[in-house]
Subunit: 348 residues, 2 copies
Amino acid sequence: MTEPRRLAVLRAIVEDYVATQEPVGSKALVERHALGVSPATIRNDMAALEEEGLIAQPHTSAGRIPTDKGYRAFVDGLPAVRPLSPAERRAIDRLLGNGEPVDLDEVLERTVRALAQLTHQVAVIQYPSLARARVRHVELVQLAPRRLVLVLITDSGRVEQRSVEIPPDAPEVVADLVTELRGRLNAATASRRSDEAVAALDGVVATWSAARPEDSAAASVVAAALRSALDATREERMVLAGTANLVRGAGGFSASVAPVLEAIEEQVVVLRLLAEMADDPASGVSVRIGREIVHSGLSDAAVVASGYGSGGEVVARLGILGPTRMDYPTSIAAVRAVARYLSKVLAP
Amino acid sequence: MTEPRRLAVLRAIVEDYVATQEPVGSKALVERHALGVSPATIRNDMAALEEEGLIAQPHTSAGRIPTDKGYRAFVDGLPAVRPLSPAERRAIDRLLGNGEPVDLDEVLERTVRALAQLTHQVAVIQYPSLARARVRHVELVQLAPRRLVLVLITDSGRVEQRSVEIPPDAPEVVADLVTELRGRLNAATASRRSDEAVAALDGVVATWSAARPEDSAAASVVAAALRSALDATREERMVLAGTANLVRGAGGFSASVAPVLEAIEEQVVVLRLLAEMADDPASGVSVRIGREIVHSGLSDAAVVASGYGSGGEVVARLGILGPTRMDYPTSIAAVRAVARYLSKVLAP
DNA sequence: CATTGGCACTCCAGACTCTTGAGTGCCAGG
DNA sequence: CCTGGCACTCAAGAGTCTGGAGTGCCAATG
């Protein structure tokens, strides 16, 4: 029983099971794959694979299906990243190539839809994390006597907004106060990273309160809003597409899809999951399978993810989520390709 | 066969069917509702109701289920908007009451989640339409020699952003150019409604090109971005929650939920649907049931929607989407309550 | 004339059985 | 180490049966 053949058998089992969604037996295996040995031999290999916990049978005398561990061995044993087929390449071009991208939101929106369509899974893209981004400009605009809106622009082009309500016990703000406050905030935070900018805020409030004590309340609520906006640049957001794919191939998940949908709606879960996945240095892609995902509702899901970012630096992550029984080679290739595309588009 | 009793029978059928999800027969009906007549009488009524197309039997010798038309009659015959139960009121307070709303995005996000939880359906909130909003401020910030970001702030607090790329054959822009362009754009558009502002833009580009012909290319791409942002204030966006509810009560939809999920992901469909629903003046809520919705994938869905807006003026709509077999009284009450809540919160 | 009890009829759902076929493990022989 | 053969297992599907819920119709009744 040669060692390499056993892996070939595992690979064949995974491929057939992914394709047919049915337990695969020894006879079917030798028919569909040129393994050069008889079914009996395959049975011996299967027994060994089952011994190792890589495959299992749903019931006695049924074919075998891969376990999480089996998928893991399959993925780790993949020779290299499969290049995209011409059809896939065309599909990417078609989905992403045309039209002028008008802003970050739209680029991500379009890209996530493309990824979902390519892989037939749920696609997720995390917004570029801006912990390293620098403050470019702070805009403060008055909408009503007691109502302002604050807009934070970072050098990566992300825009955060906060509405500010002046408390009723403080005096109403007037235009030149807004102007001056805006000036001071910009002076204090411009070109700073968000953590530095937050630190500088206290000083602004202090000197302001000393100079114009009657308006200290207004200054502090505005500062609080700015602090919140700065914090948000470190906080994560995401965009999502392809939810319908979850129920489409209805047999995808063994149990119900409800817990999966719930986990997805609870975006925090997905973001945390993406964050804790470290990419394989060779392929740039990481894979989590079944029980490797700690979250309870996702125990029969798998995630394929990759970092992306401008200039080689990973600023955020994207990926797909689907049943463990998914086409890993295709998914990995698609995620990798889309991550590269997005990195290129976002490069300044 | 008195006319009012027939409506009572219809109401009872709808209620039982919604509760049990099973066809309801004459005997079960008299047991669960105090109708004061015998099953045989009910059967006569049922025959009449079926004659009118309000109910139907899945097969001969099964109980009856309401048709779309039956639900419609049921909804139209509802005595009045059911007041919220104390439990529901508490739930709304709990879900929406606490915490300072920091900005529009977050208010809508939180509200839509609450609505989904209250009704156990998919909830949708359309962003406030800003066709009537006025330009408050246009900000133009330079990120790189050929890269700008443009931010549009309206007096309703909505913020739109566009990134602007200066074409490589035009000269790079310098700081004072940005400043001057920003000034001219603000002068031309401030306090204008978006359609007026769009109209004024051409003038800006024209005078600018005359004054500084070498930078006319930069001016026109910036103007295009601003025009796009202004257009977007009229275009619709929406926020969504509760997708998991679609599959939760798995028997909800007769066929698969896949087409419904697809329609929802195609947000345009939902937005168009919301837009074409006119609220009943009495309750402020409108209902579309089954085939009344033209979209093919939604033929066994129902939508309960309501407008909301600050100061009595409807600026946008919100609603829920679920199977035709839904608890209309509760849904209508919840949609109404949440719409009122949101109107109050957004009131300046 | 609406209402009611009775009755014959229909038909789905679930339980039960049977059969089939794919698949397995093991063993003895190459 | 591979292979063919053989006995064994078991889920899935096809039939069959039966109970019960439900209906429509009709004659009787207040």
